[in-house]
Symmetry: D2
Subunit: 423 residues, 4 copies
């Protein structure tokens, strides 16, 4: 009657690029071959690469962030054959644990260069930057953002079932439509259609791999049909998530593990990104799509979270008047950007520069809420920063004392404007 150690269905190698590891893949496609089989009810461990497949290093320069190859992302473990899952079912995934790998107790948060990835505030902070976080048990600290320590609400940035051929076609057409419609007005990519370069189709043979590379959807966006890169920080340990199943065996994939993330993941590479191991148990609800009206995943979070008390959040309001003073119409995106900018202007007072704060808002457990979304023309959102993650008082009545906060990792020779003067 011994209880065996929990079975690993995936192990990863931190010394080799992701595309040399057949147990991972980086495109969504119904034909990516199964990586392993999991029985419903079985609890398994799945190691995951960091989303870039070992491209980022633990050092004090952001050169690797500047030069990151985004054609390669995201490396996902799987897809897994969940025994008995059929199209029309719901796949229940219960997250039992997520942990960094003992052999790599650090993660990173990056700000991509505006020309290579960008982020929510790339208009103001176009240069590349990086913060390395040391991960010790439940705590993250960074030499690049001093005087901060926080507990990770650890989670996978990406989980999803494979699309059917029909769903995939819909994705590709929908996103191509957007590009056609608005790309000419933007100087960064508004969406990404299938890209053969560096597509990785897991265990597929070359013919199939070519097909998948040609048709496979990029993993960058989350999508309503299967979740994917939803970046929901609350999808942490203990969560039960319900996914629609579109193909036999469900072809569930997971990756992009985050030690911690703020709501919005604003710097894009914005969580504390890390390789790690996720422990899950699965279950199938026959006919679950119809039973649950499951057009998009739903979930119930777990009962363990970092837990600061409502009165420990310093909260900034943001409205849909943009940084040029222009009125936008009920735009929650603009409103959230404004809330972030208000937080940056405030936190500067303590000695951090804007890049450091941008990294911090991306990676720390900040709460981003929709507040009012009907009071024309202004949407209102809030961003709440847990005051207890700082080892000094950031409260408005705490003295507002400036300290030497060093700097995050930057590009050698780059001319970062470390403080942006908002109007």
């Amino acid at each position: 009657m011994p209880t065996d150690p929990i079975r690993y269905v995936t192990k990863v190698d931190l010394t080799k690029p992701g595309d040399q590891q057949p147990q991972v893949h980086n495109r969504w496609h119904p034909d990516v071959p199964f990586s392993e089989t999991i029985k419903p009810g079985e609890t398994v461990k799945i190691e995951c690469l960091d989303w870039t497949g070992n491209q980022i290093k633990n050092n004090d320069t952001a050169d690797d962030i500047l030069n990151v190859d985004l054609t390669r992302i995201h490396y996902l473990s799987g897809p897994f054959n969940i025994e008995g899952a059929e199209p029309g079912d719901a796949l229940v995934v219960e997250i039992k644990d997520v942990q960094p790998l003992e052999r790599q107790p650090w993660g990173y948060c990056g700000i991509f260069h505006k020309k290579n990835g960008g982020g929510f505030l790339d208009k103001f902070y176009p240069e590349a930057a990086k913060a390395i976080f040391d991960l010790e048990g439940i705590h993250a600290t960074s030499r690049h953002i001093p005087h901060v320590k926080f507990t990770g609400l650890i989670h996978p940035g990406i989980m999803g079932t494979a699309p059917s051929a029909e769903v995939l076609k819909e994705w590709n057409s929908r996103e191509a439509g957007l590009i056609k419609e608005i790309q000419h007005n933007h100087d960064t990519a508004v969406a990404n259609t299938p890209l053969e370069t560096n597509a990785h189709a897991g265990r597929a043979d070359s013919e199939l791999a070519a097909k998948i590379a040609k048709e496979g959807a990029r993993t960058i966006p989350g999508r309503p049909e299967n979740g994917g890169n939803c970046d929901i920080k609350n999808l942490s340990r203990g969560s039960k998530c319900y996914f629609p199943v579109y193909v036999p065996g469900a072809k569930f994939s997971v990756g992009d593990l985050h030690f911690s993330q703020g709501d919005g993941e604003i710097s894009f590479c914005g969580a504390i990104e890390m390789p790690g191991v996720i422990t899950i148990q699965t279950r199938i609800i026959k006919g679950g799509i119809e039973k649950l009206s499951l057009k998009s995943p739903i979930f119930i979070p777990g009962d363990v979270q970092n837990h600061y008390g409502p009165s420990r959040y310093l909260t900034f309001e943001g409205f849909s008047v943009d940084e040029e003073g222009k009125q936008q119409f009920l735009c929650a995106t603009t409103a959230y950007r404004q809330a972030c900018i208000r937080a940056i202007e405030y936190l500067r007072k303590f000695g951090y520069n804007d890049y450091q704060i941008y990294l911090l808002l991306s990676s720390a457990p900040v709460e981003g809420h929709v507040a009012g979304i009907v009071d024309v023309p202004n949407a209102c959102t809030t961003i709440g920063i847990p005051m207890d993650i700082f080892d000094f008082d950031i409260g408005p009545e705490g003295g507002l004392i400036k300290q030497d906060m060093r700097n995050c990792a930057l590009i050698e020779g780059a001319k970062h404007k470390l403080i942006y003067e908002y109007k």
Copy 2:
């Protein structure tokens, strides 16, 4: 050494229209005369009308909602002269309590007709509807939405300092600009410029009242400069809010009390609206605008909230693919609308119709989060519904049992389509 009862600086009359009550006003303008003076450090009670000034009745028809006169809103108590406050200061308002009036232990949540007010989902639910809530201590229940009981996270929908003449001018020009730019593409108002009809300037004499009516900003939107109608449900009891001061005495106003509200206040008249009494204490931080970089209000919530535990939220994901299947670009507003629609489709299973659910999502303490806002082209948001507010199990594995849920208040003879068939 007796401790006297707390001083009321405003009382209201629930039997007379708002515009017959000089202690309230319904436009933002620097010249609205002071209603009363409050010393910093003094705790005072302020009664407030419901936002419509007694237009809505406790009955089973939505006719009053259909015919509500929106030129009259919102009736705010004040403005108050906070002794010693000067432009450039920050005004700290600590909310000690918010309560319904003992003499009117009920409130309402309304869905405005698309042609008269509208709301977040008016495209699908264009008709007027209403739910009356009985308020008993901390609990709200409604005969129009059976099997639900919840605790109010009670708060004022509107608090703000008066704009200076310059700020007011900026508002009017900014919003007029939007109207000019996009109104022709919308069939409901995208913004509201000053409107003389039914403007109420408090204690102003007729000449001043005419000026205020002509120039005064509408109270509908929250605005970055002074907060106003921000509809932040967490600005509840115990909160300390920091406002910029633009005029001598600050001219602080407050109103639009909500017994409870969901993030987004999606039906516009979407909280449990009520007359009530708010107890506040004020404080001035000299030069606080500069000290705190205070372009918009900031706040620290209180330590008392309804408190359900993270694992008690059933959470729906929404992405920025709209209800026509069209891809929108990183639009959190669309994404939040999608999350709401997913919740509606799900909750229908228990016997509620869409109008009832729309009212419920507006008024119950649901949590709306920005999740991911950088994964082009999809923004992802979540809406979390506390399962403990239902007296039956709404969980995906709780049996999904349909009950007779009666109906909300509707318009006699109107042809509401009570269930909208989303694609």
Copy 3:
């Protein structure tokens, strides 16, 4: 269809002694006449006197505490006839709200003189003392314990159903037994048998009143059979409490309202005592005693509490080695006393004297836990103090700065030893 204001079933007079008010009583007895009738399902308001019946004043001396007449306590509102309740049923009481009276926005916490009431630490702090708290909305502050502000977890200290004649007899015999057995070893009362002096039997005529005075159980202890003076701080708003019913109509009584209390209520008059109003709704479970095995009340707390986050409690450990250094055997009472003493020694560093801290631990929302109760010979308990109730940092690494903390109310001319030197 108007919703009427909630019906008051009891009002009290704050200007007259409790025994001149027939709607209250101060003994437990099956024959105390009904004060009012309440229908199951009806929500009602019940005003309550403070437990002493207006004996304590808002001033800066503890003379009233020293001379308090404890033969008169506790004045309870009721007993109420819950229509249809019969012996063997369970009575469900849902607390909808508890509030101080608008006409008396203050309460008190007292330390009784060792010879008149005493308390948990009377061996070390034998003198009388008092702190007056101003109650403003959710907040309590005291001029007698500066630099502290907290949110009340407001609750009734006493709720209970009337005992049957048999249960009453059991109580009286059980407690008389204890007196006989151990009183000779104690210099304060170990229990109180029925006492005719100042017994108040509500609306009873003089003959019945005499019987009740002679037989009625004192209200000082909580008792397993009916709850009574259980002083459970978590029996706050939203709680549903299940009581055994022993007599027709249940004869439910309530009183001893507390604005706030620490676990243990250590100074005996140790909560923030106040007159106030409680709003309840009742329900009957037929045959509930057997159905629920209801030998003692059970309850489910409400979902609204002050809520500080686990990492905001400074926690002291106490073991069952007493203040003389003597080993006691698994005595959680000794262990909790030790934890309290450790907290007193620590909080002194900030300038408070022991009487002030004793009052604070009694009245603030401190958490007292049983930790280990099996590791012979030491029981271990903890007392957790929410750090956020102080306006300075009480943490071990926060500088430990001493301030002028003034004093609590004392007895003129008394020689309080304000700091006790523990070994």
Copy 4:
């Protein structure tokens, strides 16, 4: 600049008895040799045996519990030389993580036989019993207590600094005094004086080992001077604990890891006992004993806990009237025992037997509070059971449905009375 994996300062062998492993010890004594040196500020990992040193097996009989050798307990890792710590200092230990060992993903909870260990309720449940828990990530489940799953509030049962010779002498004399005074009235040990049998002095040579065996204090009780076996479930991840230092290098030891425990750890072997690994970081406060008045350890819990919401606890009241109906005087121990008994009587309704419930109350995250401790003659305590750990509704109004709950592990042929009929 690579971040190395965290250093292990102790590894343990799960296949050998504890006394064959020199990196652990099982007595408190100032002369136990250092096991390893830790620098302040360094984060280290420490593996720990389960408290019995591998005596208990994963099977379906309680024979190993019946025959457990309690002369061997508790095996602690250490003592560690915290570089620079001197008598008079405070040692700060921050718990970064506690985890089960990947190679043994299970733990156990035992009820000791009354004649060999006993427990809080051994009068009623004298036989041995056991439950094995499978540990999967954050979750524990047991085939011996079906329909329950909970999240561990994982912690070390024992942490402490070594006593000085003087402190040790005080312990031995104090506990011998108790034995002399009251042992004759008890049929189980009231305390344990030093015992040479199976004493394990770590790396001590035979002469020193003999001295330690003769003088060393048993590890069973927690003690005020150094904490030790305090069994505080909230001393979990993220906690910062402050210990007095009595000997050079502090000689900090740790062990008795618990995956989860209820307040009281009532069955003595009552947590989910397991081998595991704890990650800590230390710091020294020079002169900290005086600075912090540190007679007993103090701590600040971490910000991560299982978190159920106050309204999800079914709470039982217990008063100090014992199970014979005899009145005890303000005895919180009796009161807590009564609360436990009330919970047992209630939970039986669902099909569990008393031994199963006894195990469950010991090991699940139940909350035991001191409620009132001054209302002569009754102390009142509460035990709160999180309803969300059951996969069915245990609420009083949830139908009270009985199921087949199988059984816990028992002794072959033993005549357990599985239900005790309380009066």
